[in-house]
Symmetry: D2
Subunit: 135 residues, 4 copies
Amino acid sequence: MEDRIRSSFAKQSMMQTLGAEVESVAAGEVVITAPILPGSRQQHDVAHAALSFAIGDTAAGYAALTVMPEDCEVMTAEMKINLLAPGAGEHLRATGKVIKPGRRLVIVTAEVHAVTGHEEKLVAILQGTMVPVTA
Amino acid sequence: MEDRIRSSFAKQSMMQTLGAEVESVAAGEVVITAPILPGSRQQHDVAHAALSFAIGDTAAGYAALTVMPEDCEVMTAEMKINLLAPGAGEHLRATGKVIKPGRRLVIVTAEVHAVTGHEEKLVAILQGTMVPVTA
Amino acid sequence: MEDRIRSSFAKQSMMQTLGAEVESVAAGEVVITAPILPGSRQQHDVAHAALSFAIGDTAAGYAALTVMPEDCEVMTAEMKINLLAPGAGEHLRATGKVIKPGRRLVIVTAEVHAVTGHEEKLVAILQGTMVPVTA
Amino acid sequence: MEDRIRSSFAKQSMMQTLGAEVESVAAGEVVITAPILPGSRQQHDVAHAALSFAIGDTAAGYAALTVMPEDCEVMTAEMKINLLAPGAGEHLRATGKVIKPGRRLVIVTAEVHAVTGHEEKLVAILQGTMVPVTA
């Protein structure tokens, strides 16, 4: 499972552009991290909302993939993000979780934290729907 | 107004990373385009959902800025995206609109189209809330 | 089609509790109205958010049903509502529309207006996903 | 705090129409229950989505009120609901929680369970934004 996710992740050029990495893969839960690169910022020099969205959505999508049949890929049907605090820190970490698996729809959430040393701050929460597509 | 938006946009390094440009600025409506760069893709080689989110959210945010007092900046409080079709084409174009201005909250929507020659396909719709912040 | 929707609507006891009625049915667009009954209010005596949600969601769902095969029923997978203004007036009117039909997912929006005489005020917008279920 | 919430709740006629009750109030968390009344159903005779929305939104709103100054009331700015399973059972129970308090925006979530005897099934999750309004 982890190989399959790391291999799919490696094909997402957007993840490389953002410097994102898969930190861990477990059944129903995937963690993705990303530095706040000089090229990933908004006008106040903190992480762009799209960075939190990108890694939150991707972590949630791969969490969904862990509960889908082997021959499936996953696609985001819809995703909602609430931004709680500026994305400032050493890096961002997104934890995606499956709330409800299903044959046609998988309901997921993600939390994005800004990490500085041992401190973590919740900066965004996401809630959405993933759909399986035959690869 | 257009100068103010173009100047703020130029400070968003994420927009440069994604190759995005401001196409037009009008009261309550801003259009942003982006190519589907080799580095902006998901595993099936079409635009990553985060690209549609990034330009849709930014177009909606600047649309909101056009109805705010001059000394304000805008921040996304929350945004929801429904993805309708793969982001395949020559480039993406996001049209952000103000649905309801307000002193504390500005309600916005955005549509993202994939454009190929004279053809356009709706690939994502967004609905969210922007808040003014004192610059 | 209209008969099918009116017959399904009649079986939704919540719609009767709220006094809601089907105003019109067209391909991809359904309009539902509801009075702001004494029993449908929040603590400031205007319409409860759940009333706008109820008729907006139902109008969107039946709009989706107009583009589904005949033997299907429709179910809400997810729905987001932004509330723009207090629901005050003689009645509320929800217009549900199909944005993108599909075999597995139908993307919809709805607008809810508060109506007083000839005046209309937009009080809520909704964006969501309907799924067909075999009846 | 609990008195203030119970008193506000008693003024929401929609809550009485739906038979809803406040089960518990704690700092940042409020629980509301409702029977699945004969008049609260959709066409398949289970709870209408609007019932889950109504009590989930209200539980989240009062959870937000517990972290606001005393002279405030709370209003829903936006709310998203994902429906996970049919609302079938003896009653529904919504648990609303504050994720991030704030002077201008309070970010909240809610879970709605269908309860039958000692069994509970998660039927809906909500994520949204509450705003304080001066009473």
